[in-house]
């Protein structure tokens, strides 16, 4: 799955996702990616967030919506992301998942849940700081 956030210099914000979902899923199964507030959420007054992972679990907690609302209340993107992850972890300690967050000033962050196979989450950033996209990572 790819989840993407874009913010232009005028503060317009958009978010998007695209995935082919879980392998061997039951036919008809839809994951979190296309569910607004779960796979992604954008509000030009607060910022945007996008999630990836075990969509069957993550969608139940609307992590992208929660992260944007926390940023609207003044949380920095990293804190907003971590809080969204810990909300899920409280119920599903072993869930596989990660989230990226960005606010309207161009600050960004990410968080993930540490499980076997996911101890570090890598994501891409492009802004005026460098010509080419930068590979970033956070420890889970």
């Amino acid at each position: 799955t790819i989840g993407m956030l874009a913010i232009d210099q005028d503060g317009h914000v958009a978010a998007g996702t695209s995935t082919n979902g879980l392998t061997h899923k039951v036919p008809g199964r839809v994951g979190d990616s296309p569910i607004v507030g779960a796979g992604a959420y954008a509000d030009s007054e607060a910022g945007a967030a996008a999630a990836t992972g075990d969509g069957d679990v993550m969608m139940r907690f609307l992590p992208s919506y929660l992260a944007v609302e926390l940023m609207r209340a003044g949380a920095d993107p990293s804190t907003a992301c971590k809080t969204a992850i810990s909300r899920i972890k409280r119920h599903y300690s072993e869930f596989f998942g990660a989230i990226i967050c960005a606010n309207t000033t161009g600050h960004y962050g990410a968080a993930c849940n540490k499980v076997p196979g996911l101890s570090q989450f890598r994501f891409m950033v492009a802004n005026t700081e460098s010509d080419a996209p930068l590979l970033k990572s956070v420890d889970c």
Binding site: T1, G3, G16, P27, S33, P34, V36, D54, I100
Partner: protein, 180 residues
Amino acid sequence: RASLPLVINTWPFKDATAAAWDALQSGGSVLDAVEKGCARCETEQCDGSVGYGGSPDETGETTLDAMIMNGDTMEVGAVGDLKRIKNAVGVARAVMEYTSHTMLVGESASLFAENMGFIAEDLTTNKSMNIFSQWLKGNCQPNYRKNVFPDPSQYCGPYKPRATLQPNKMRRHANTHSHD
């Protein structure tokens, strides 16, 4: 240090980031940037978890999910369980721009896409067929069934519901290679 404009995306899909950034730099909107970035991953089948030819379901079919959201207007376009159309995020944007709905799913979403000019094509590849056939040979493990018989941790379907429900102790199977 923060700076605008900004593009950020999950996973190390660098080409997608570059496609979105180029869209912004050449005067495109943030919607254009997100659509072009996600579409690049659909074309490149990013790590097998995006686009055609990946993650076959229990019948061997690849289906796609996508959404796009405009933070200025709070408009959303989304598709779920999309069949036969490769550009899922493009269809999601078409839902947003050519209907007043938010989400279309399944076969009907594919017919909507064809009516809006998207090309219908097979989303199956040798790779996805191989993933599917190996799975069948391995007694359909893992799968996402529970409270059914025959025992889904041992056998393929078809399955029938059990009379009694077991407490939810299902091991979850999402991982780096199979996730949303």
